[in-house]
């Protein structure tokens, strides 16, 4: 099999010392930011982009993928020990995990989360390796109208399908799309919405927007929210090892979680949080001891944790094969590819095969590293949770402004001797936007995805219309595009009906938040 050869070659490349070091840095940082409340993988990758500008592309991308995987592992630690999830995909883990920790079973909870994440990560990465070549073959036949339909589907699933309000999801998406208009139009050289500001000609940087919405917006919300209870860390008592019964109850949940999470990430049908929630309800149905749910059932930790890792790997399928980001982290990783002049999509597999396969293989390596980092070294990560909030958020803002200045340090505005960095002014403005979005219950991810995917969708739309000489019917001329539009309509329609029938509560739980 060809895939085996490519994967084996990728593995050889991934096992080179410098790539191992990048992977190790990635998973370590990823675990740390996953554990810390207030920072997630999307923000971390965004902050690292300017630093990696001059580094090796393969190594940097391996590091970013490590951060993404690590973030999924680390998030579970916070959920279990603190009851405040470090990232949105771990909200469900907190339900059972924190209960287990309070009963002194924090160790086994952490272990089943880590081993479940490992099993899921391994299977899902292999799934990625074997599915990707087929998707690529299929995608090579896509016309611009098919790509446009695909992006419309992604817009819909990211913004409208989940969350408690399609209106607010779509509003967030359109804010992102609107920001994406700013700057010089690449096809005609026309300037749009730049208001004669030189700094706006290149458009809004995805990283600046992401750092502002995630770091500044989150800090403002946390600082101002009176309801933010001072949560206590539950100490890990007893052994971290699982008993024989724990293993028996966990293994099937890990596999079920993987099979739920991977397709959801790959389809693009939503983020890891959707997968983990669905897995939780599945486990509740399958469990032999459903009465334990709500009081610390180990299946309720094992399943969702496997699901969120599998879905993170699944997300890489549309990202690598189609260039389609479906989560905020994937959107930032796409910006990372573009920074190195690489455009994810079917052609990436043809033109940069060694890089792609090294990246996929390194995910397998990263997974082993994460298992080691998260089981024997768990005590180290727990210490991170004891950092007081005032130092944590002051540090986050220091790095947020540092990363923004590093990406664009130009001080082009000002008066007299005082020069002002326009990028930081944008950071502040978008930070306030991020606070307002959080305050009024708008999701964040659609804004970021809209900004990066909007110009790409426009390009495909205009390409399609140029081929058809302005005939709009071309958009629904192929069976693929028609299928995708039908899927998009179902993705909006079904939740709408559920909401009207008063079952919105389930969807609210599925609200896509940050990563």
């Amino acid at each position: 099999m060809e895939t085996f050869d490519l994967l084996a070659q990728g593995l050889l490349s991934a096992l080179q010392v410098h790539n191992l070091i990048y992977a190790l840095i990635g998973v370590t940082l990823g675990t740390a930011v996953g554990v810390l409340p207030g920072i997630g993988p999307a923000l971390t990758v965004a902050l690292l982009l300017p630093v990696t500008y001059k580094l090796d592309p393969a190594g940097s991308l391996i590091m970013f993928a490590g951060i993404y995987y690590g973030g999924m592992y680390g998030g579970s630690t916070t959920s279990i020990l603190l009851n405040t999830p470090g990232e949105s995909a771990s909200i469900v883990t907190a339900l059972e995990g924190n209960k287990m920790a309070r009963q002194g079973r924090g160790g086994p909870a952490l272990a089943t989360a880590a081993i479940g994440s490992f099993v899921a990560g391994l299977l899902a990465t292999l799934g990625l390796a074997f599915i990707a070549p087929f998707v690529v073959k299929f995608a090579l036949s896509f016309g611009p109208w098919d790509y446009f339909a695909l992006m419309v589907l992604a817009f819909v699933t990211v913004s409208a399908a989940f969350g408690d309000s399609a209106l607010r999801g779509l509003t967030a998406l359109f804010i992102g799309l609107g920001l994406g208009l700013i700057g010089i139009d690449l096809q005609t050289g026309q300037t749009r919405l730049a208001f004669n500001v030189m700094d706006l000609l290149d458009g809004i940087e995805v990283t600046t927007l992401a750092v502002a919405l995630f770091a500044i917006g989150e800090t403002l919300k946390t600082a101002s929210d009176r309801d933010q209870a001072n949560t206590e860390v539950t100490a890990v008592k007893g052994s971290v090892w699982m008993t024989l019964e724990d293993w028996k109850r966990s293994w099937a949940s890990w596999l079920r979680g993987t099979f739920i999470g991977f397709p959801i990430g790959a389809m693009p049908a939503g983020g890891a949080d959707v997968a983990s929630f669905l897995s939780y309800s599945t486990e509740k149905t399958f469990s032999k001891k459903p009465e334990e749910f709500g009081n610390g059932a180990i299946e309720g930790v094992a399943g969702p944790e496997a699901a969120n890792n599998a879905s993170a790997a699944g997300t890489l399928v549309p990202l690598l094969t189609l260039g389609l980001p479906t989560t905020a982290t994937a959107a930032i990783m796409l910006a990372g590819f573009q920074q190195f002049g690489l455009q994810p999509g079917p052609l990436l597999f043809a033109n940069n095969a060694p890089l792609v396969w090294a990246l996929i293989a390194s995910l397998l390596v990263a997974n082993f590293m994460l298992l080691v980092l998260n089981l024997p070294l768990i005590g180290l990560w727990v210490k991170l949770l004891t950092i007081p909030k005032h130092w944590l958020y002051a540090g986050i803002l220091t790095f947020a402004t540092l990363g923004t200045l590093g990406a664009n340090g130009a001080m082009s505005m000002g008066f007299g001797p005082v020069r002002i960095s326009f990028e930081l002014v944008l950071l502040l403005a978008f930070g306030i936007l991020g606070y307002l979005l959080r305050r009024f219950g708008y999701p964040i991810a659609p804004v970021v995805v809209g900004l990066i995917l909007g110009p790409m969708a426009e390009q495909q739309l205009r390409r399609a219309l140029a081929i058809s000489q302005g005939e709009i019917g071309v958009l629904i001329s192929s069976p693929i595009s028609i299928t995708l539009y039908v899927a998009a309509i179902i993705a909006v329609g079904v939740p709408l009906i559920l909401r009207l029938r008063g079952q919105g509560g389930v969807l609210r739980q599925l609200a896509t938040d940050e990563d």
């Binding site: 309000s165 359109f174 799309l177 803002l397 340090g409 005082v418 960095s421």
Partner: protein, 166 residues
């Protein structure tokens, strides 16, 4: 500012109406700016104005939807937020933006650091400012000297790396 999920008898949600107005305002700006673009005849059919018009129209529809939602009071309940910490953090960011070019990265970011810590209730300012400046200098040193990132240097950075303040 009343909110509630199913309470039709309450007053319309004022904040939501403001959001609707902002969305409509954005749409008007996009319409106006796009209509000002001068296009050579060849580009006019599927040119750079199509997409902006589509998005502006979408924003208008969303503004209408938001008004309806505000009237029905279907926005989620909002937490009672403290505004003082927000002013501290925003003030810290503005302070940093203004200080960077003259005072350099460490002092400017030290101000941001101290204001943020203050927003979370940690003082006194002189102490957190000193800690923040020292921390920022260490970060500046690693990233500007070690990783060649272009970060603004000021008196403090020059004094500590070259020995002279100039």
């Amino acid at each position: 500012m009343t909110t509630g999920s199913s309470s039709r008898e309450r007053r319309p949600d004022g904040a939501a109406l403001i959001i609707a107005a902002i969305l409509a305002g954005l749409a008007v700006i996009i319409f106006w700016q796009t209509s000002q673009m001068r296009l050579p005849p060849l580009q006019q059919r599927v040119g750079p104005t199509v997409f902006p018009y589509v998005i502006a129209s979408g924003l208008i529809l969303l503004a209408i939807g938001t008004v309806i939602s505000a009237m029905r009071g279907s926005f989620p309940e909002r937490s009672k937020d403290n505004y003082a910490p927000i002013f501290w953090i925003v003030g810290g960011l503005i302070g940093q933006i203004l200080l960077l070019s003259t005072a350099g990265f460490s002092i400017g970011t030290g101000v941001l650091f101290a204001c943020t810590a203050r927003a979370f209730g940690r003082g006194p300012l002189w102490q957190t400012f000193a800690i923040g400046t020292a921390f920022s200098f260490a970060v500046w040193f690693v990233f500007a000297k070690g990783l060649q990132l272009s970060l603004p240097a000021g008196v403090l950075e020059r004094l500590l790396t070259t020995g002279t303040p100039f």
